[in-house]
């Protein structure tokens, strides 16, 4: 059986064995959470509470800072104890709202709209926007913006991303196993909102049980299909997924999926959408995988947004060895962070702990021009020549070799025998070429 896929890519060991069979566990909610005002792409949200205010679970505590922005909600019930800069899963220090819980879990009022699919589209969109939903796969693009394409850009296909191609991560797999109906409900809402005729759920071939489960579920849905995708990284990257599912190529130089009539949403986001539209439930929790060879009990944990990573790790009974590196997200595109006192955000899919040995950074040696990076680049760029151009300040050449198109999937650095820090060079190149083009 031929699986659908894209050209290029790499085959890292997936390390999913640690946590894939661990059912989602609810973390007893924490005494303290930190809600960063920036958990998404776009303007940071503006706090509407001040120190000392009492808040209920689900109460709005920050307004969107613009159209491309989202509101934030209290994820536990308690008192605002601090509004200050806190560590952020991207490694930066970002303004956040600290809530100290009072031990209760008193919620704002939710509803149950059983006829949610009959709601007017505008009402659905407003509920999604009010719930503060952004993409939960990592990038965090505000969902209400994504599902409001301009009138001249019709959408015919919604793709749900259940690929989860990053090693270690199993959160999306678990929700597909445990909440498939909610995912399907979310997909139906999305299809209705953008008036698309086709829904596709893309799952990587290393999750046969999830594929089976979702396939059985959509048996009687003629317009929705589940496709199994070849096990290859970065199969879950938006452009690669769209190509594998539809053979359409999203234009480079900043083109969006809507240019090829497609919108992609993560399966976790689909559940958030369903819960927002039916129950008016704001996005205040998510499932995250805590894993790594050194973690005592790797788990998939449903935790409140703002929960500190240290609480998540404690729930997994800590580590067997000294921690060398903390990764927020997956090991290929995630961020290394300097402290476990970092809060879980809406886009946090994983917390991966490496030991000292695996955290060692190899020294760069000379490029052999072996071309392995060229062979595997899923965007058909020339990573080695980009890095070389950046090294010698040749911004025009860097641009010519495609530095601005790079999505930083890290495949080139993964295969490089000379251990060249390709992604760092490319990052510098992106900044410098951008500066050059602004002049």
């Amino acid at each position: 059986m031929g699986f659908k896929t894209f050209p290029g890519g790499i085959h890292p060991h997936d390390f999913k064995e640690f946590s894939k069979d661990m059912p989602i566990e609810n973390l007893p909610f924490s005494k303290k959470v930190v809600i960063p005002v920036s958990q998404h792409i776009g303007a940071p949200s503006k706090p509407i509470v001040k120190k000392g205010d009492e808040v209920l679970t689900g109460q709005k505590i920050a307004e969107p800072g613009g159209f491309v922005s989202i509101p934030m909600h209290a994820s536990i019930c308690g008192k605002i104890t601090k509004i200050a800069r806190f560590p952020h899963p991207t490694g930066a220090m970002v303004m956040g709202i600290e809530i100290t819980g009072n031990g209760e879990d008193k919620w704002v009022e939710l509803i149950d709209d059983e006829k949610y699919l009959d709601l007017p589209v505008e009402e659905m969109k407003s509920r999604i926007s009010e719930a503060g939903i952004c993409g939960m796969g990592g990038a965090g693009f505000p969902t209400h913006v994504k599902i409001s394409p301009p009138k001249d850009k019709p959408i015919d296909t919604i793709i749900l991303n259940g690929v989860e191609c990053e090693p270690y991560l199993t959160a999306d797999y678990r929700i597909m196993m445990e909440q498939p109906d909610d995912i399907l409900a979310g997909l139906k809402i999305l299809l209705k909102i953008v008036n698309a005729e086709k829904g596709i759920i893309g799952i990587e071939a290393n999750k046969p049980e999830a594929i089976k489960k979702m396939k059985a579920l959509v048996k009687n849905e003629p317009n929705i299909k589940v496709i199994s995708l070849k096990l290859k990284y970065p199969q879950g990257a938006e452009k690669q997924l769209i190509y594998a599912a539809t053979k359409r190529k999203v234009p480079n130089k900043g083109g969006l999926p809507m240019a090829v009539k497609v919108i992609v949403q993560n399966v976790g986001t689909a559940i958030a959408i369903y819960e927002a539209v039916r129950f008016k439930k704001p996005l205040i929790d998510r499932v995250i995988t805590v894993s790594g060879k050194i973690v005592n009990k790797p788990k998939n944990i449903k935790a409140r947004i703002g929960t500190l990573f240290t609480d998540l790790l404690d729930f997994c009974e800590g580590t067997k060895e000294e921690i060398g590196k903390i990764i927020s997200g997956g090991p290929l595109m995630g961020f290394a962070i300097s402290t476990l006192e970092t809060p879980l955000t809406k886009g946090s899919s994983g917390l991966i702990l490496l030991n000292k040995k695996d955290a060692q950074i190899d020294e760069e040696s000379t490029c052999l021009r072996c071309g392995r990076c060229v062979d595997i680049c899923p965007l058909n760029l020339v990573p080695s020549l980009i890095a070389n151009s950046v090294r010698y300040d040749d911004w025009d050449a860097a641009e010519k070799y495609g530095v601005m198109d790079c999505m930083k999937c890290g495949s080139c650095a993964y295969v490089c025998p000379s251990h060249i820090k390709l992604i760092q060079w490319i990052d510098i190149g992106k900044i410098k070429v951008d500066e050059k083009n602004r002049k």
Partner: protein, 367 residues
């Protein structure tokens, strides 16, 4: 907080591969060919190869010491160069030939450009060109027959024992040399008393070159030649290993060998276009240094194009030049010069074969 964690840019996991691991795998891949050479030519091939390797390693270390840069001889790249220099040498050569070759390869071929990754030419082939120019007799004659048979791979019984010149040819020349001399009509001056008979003998020999038996000899290594090229079978085992390990890639060897195959089929006969049998291109693929060159020299990472399309052009270019040299050039074999000439073209090839990015559009997208 006293704990200190490593913070670096993604990716945080890496494939277990490094420059030394690549180089040592190449060494491993060349080992079957060396063993075959020892089997067919005797232990002298081993000694010559060791001289080449030792000279290469010492030269690299000394120059790095002089340049006051870290000594990296353990990365295996000098060993690969030394091996390949020796592989290009006739087993009857004196001990100092591989030594001089390796010193030249490392000093002039590699370190003068800045060391590994910066050289323009394949160092081993540059050394071979230097040796051929300096000691042509040692490098291009005095072939040793293998312990199993003749130098040309042909059996002396295929032509009358009275045809002395023809007999001399097939016992002293390499297969490609025989082919060249027949094509150049050297025989007109007399394989036999009259031209027609001469022609007939020439045709017999030529037919026998492209004969299944000769090709078998070429494939297993039962012919004369330089140390490394003797057994195509042993080289292919190594090449298959490197391809499996993703260290060499199919584009250069396949386009190179494919081009030689097609062109020798068209132009290879001695009686005009398309006069050759279909086995003649097979002969050309296995004769001489093509298998060694296509899989182990043309694929040298540093001196071949990085783009996928570029590698195909590079292979085709090597193939065309090889056939031109074999068919009309002064040398019977053209693999080494064709690769060196294409090495020069690599920056140009890379420049004009930058791939189109995924989803390439002319205009910047809006919306």
């Amino acid at each position: 907080m006293t704990d200190v964690y490593a913070v670096s840019a993604a990716p945080h996991i890496k494939q277990r591969i490094s420059v030394p691991s690549v180089m040592w795998q190449v060494v491993l891949a060349l080992t079957p060919a060396l063993l075959a050479s020892i089997y067919f030519f005797g232990t002298k091939s081993l000694w010559l190869t060791l001289y080449g390797i030792i000279a290469a390693v010492i030269t690299e270390a000394v120059i790095q010491k002089i340049r006051k840069i870290p000594i990296t001889v353990t990365d295996g790249s000098a060993i690969v160069t030394g091996l390949l220099v020796a592989f290009n040498i006739n087993v009857s050569a004196p001990w100092w030939i591989p030594v001089v070759g390796s010193v030249f390869a490392i000093a002039i071929g590699k370190q003068i450009f800045g060391g590994l990754g910066f050289n323009i030419f394949n160092p081993a082939l540059l050394a071979r060109a230097f040796l051929v120019a300096s000691w042509p007799t040692i490098m291009t004659s005095g072939w040793t027959s293998t312990r199993l048979g003749s130098i040309s791979g042909l059996h002396s019984g295929i032509i009358p024992s009275t045809a002395i010149k023809a007999q001399n040819l097939i016992t002293s020349a390499t297969p490609l040399n025989v082919a060249q001399q027949l094509r150049d009509k050297v025989f007109t001056s007399g394989f036999a008393d009259n031209l027609a008979e001469s022609q007939a003998i020439a045709n017999t020999i030529f037919d026998k070159l492209a004969d299944f038996g000769t090709i078998q000899n070429l494939f297993w290594g039962n012919v004369g030649g330089v140390i490394g090229e003797v057994s195509a079978a042993a080289l292919l085992i190594g090449a298959a290993f490197l391809a499996y390990r993703h260290i060499i890639e199919w584009r250069i060897p396949i386009s190179y060998i494919g081009t030689v195959f097609v062109l020798t089929y068209i132009f290879g006969g001695i009686n005009g276009l398309f006069s050759a049998s279909i086995l003649l291109p097979v002969f050309h693929v296995f004769a001489g240094g093509l298998i060694l060159g296509a899989f182990f020299m043309a694929t040298d990472m540093v001196t071949s194009p990085v783009t996928k399309k570029g590698r195909i052009y590079f292979g085709i270019g090597c193939g065309i030049l090889t056939v031109v040299i074999r068919m009309v050039g002064g040398y019977p074999e053209g693999v080494s010069y064709s690769i060196l000439l294409m090495n020069i073209a690599v920056p140009l090839i890379d420049k004009y074969t930058v791939p189109k990015p995924f989803g390439e559009v002319k205009k910047i997208a809006h919306g």
